[in-house]
């Protein structure tokens, strides 16, 4: 499963899968760095969430490594790197999240932010 996810991520990146609706790469980088105007930011966010575009998502993941400050929480939750856990519990899963798992998630997010700063 993990392998096939990785493969599909790669094929999305390898092929030039830009579509008519894909934002420009410059807009994706600015979005990851928090430099977009509000309107353009909304456009990019909608594209990522509605079109679920892995190609654009990978640009943002890479550009986020250049952020000098931690990404806002909503960005990490919604458009974090593929294969990373989601910060929100899936609504279809009724299993309560144990306290230690919540702590680990916070610590992991903090670590990611710090690594981003080091980069």
């Amino acid at each position: 499963m993990a392998h096939s996810e990785k493969e599909s991520h790669l094929s999305a990146k390898m092929s030039d899968l830009t579509t008519q609706t894909c934002p420009l790469v410059a807009d994706l980088i600015d979005f990851a760095l928090g430099r977009n105007s509000i309107a353009l930011g909304d456009q990019v966010r909608n594209h990522l969430l509605i079109d679920n575009c892995n190609c654009c998502r990978s640009w943002i993941d890479q550009a986020m490594l250049h952020r000098t400050e931690p990404a806002p929480d909503w960005m990490q939750m919604n458009i974090g790197p593929l294969g990373h856990f989601s910060s929100s519990t899936p609504s279809s899963d009724p299993t309560p999240v144990p306290e230690n798992a919540k702590w680990q998630r916070r610590a992991f997010r903090d670590l990611e932010a710090r690594l981003g700063l080091l980069e």
């Binding site: 990785k6 790669l10 990146k13 390898m14 030039d16 420009l24 790469v25 410059a26 807009d27 980088i29 990978s58 640009w59 890479q62 550009a63 490594l65 250049h66």
Partner: protein, 230 residues
């Protein structure tokens, strides 16, 4: 209002500049991209400046991706397809963020390939600290050219290939900026980096940088045009 991205580029209007962009060379695109990023336009021109800058960068992305992929796989011997794709994106993001470091007097491709190689070496070092030597990433190309030519020349077919390689190499050298032509011609003659620096009036580090950038371009002229095996 006349628009002058450089000494050699002049446009009468934003529209004219926008229409010209697809015809620009990569070096010209980079010049326009950096110029537009530095502009402080009046409010009425902000949208144009942003459009020109982003369009120039988009064209650079389109034109460089395949060549970067080939460079990383063939020249740097990077066989990890995932890593290659990450590296391409990282190189282009660096181009976006540090475009002002581009010197239009030098070759765009030599500069880009050095960024790619350095990014690859940095990544390998992070993964396997202490294990990475320059030879493992396919450097020192020009040193190998003459050795290969000697080996090839032993047969008639080899001699013909040698002749062809020499022709391609001469053509590629002739296309380099003048300063890099001088360095590439002096170095194999045994002139030291220090002497070359002194003759050209630049630092030794600059000589080394220009030489390595020239190496990448000459590699592409001789070896890098062929498609990688499927």
């Amino acid at each position: 209002m006349p628009l002058n991205p450089s000494k050699f580029l002049h446009f009468e209007s934003w529209k004219q500049l926008r229409q010209w962009l697809p015809e620009a060379t990569e070096s010209q695109l980079m010049t326009v991209f950096v110029w537009a990023g530095d502009l402080k336009p009046p409010p009425g021109d902000v949208r144009w400046v942003s459009e020109i800058r982003n369009a120039a960068f988009e064209l650079l992305v389109e034109r460089t991706r395949e060549r970067l992929r080939r460079f990383l796989m063939q020249r740097c011997h990077c066989s990890d397809a995932h890593l290659v794709e990450d590296l391409i994106q990282q190189v282009l993001i660096k181009l976006y963020l540090r475009g002002e470091q581009f010197d239009p007097q030098r070759s765009f491709w030599g500069w880009l390939y050095r960024i790619a190689r350095n990014e690859y070496i940095d990544t390998l070092r992070r993964r396997r600290p202490g294990e990475i030597g320059i030879g493992q990433t396919g450097s020192d190309f020009l040193d190998h050219v003459s050795e290969n030519q000697i080996a090839d020349s032993r047969t008639p077919e080899g001699a013909a290939l040698d002749e062809e390689r020499r022709r391609l190499l001469d053509e590629a050298i002739a296309k380099l900026p003048r300063i890099q032509q001088n360095i590439v011609q002096l170095k194999p003659d045994g002139v030291s980096g220090k002497d070359i620096a002194s003759r050209l009036g630049i630092s030794q580090a600059h000589v080394s940088q220009l030489y390595h950038e020239a190496e990448e371009i000459l590699w592409e002229a001789l070896e890098g045009r062929a498609e990688p095996p499927a």
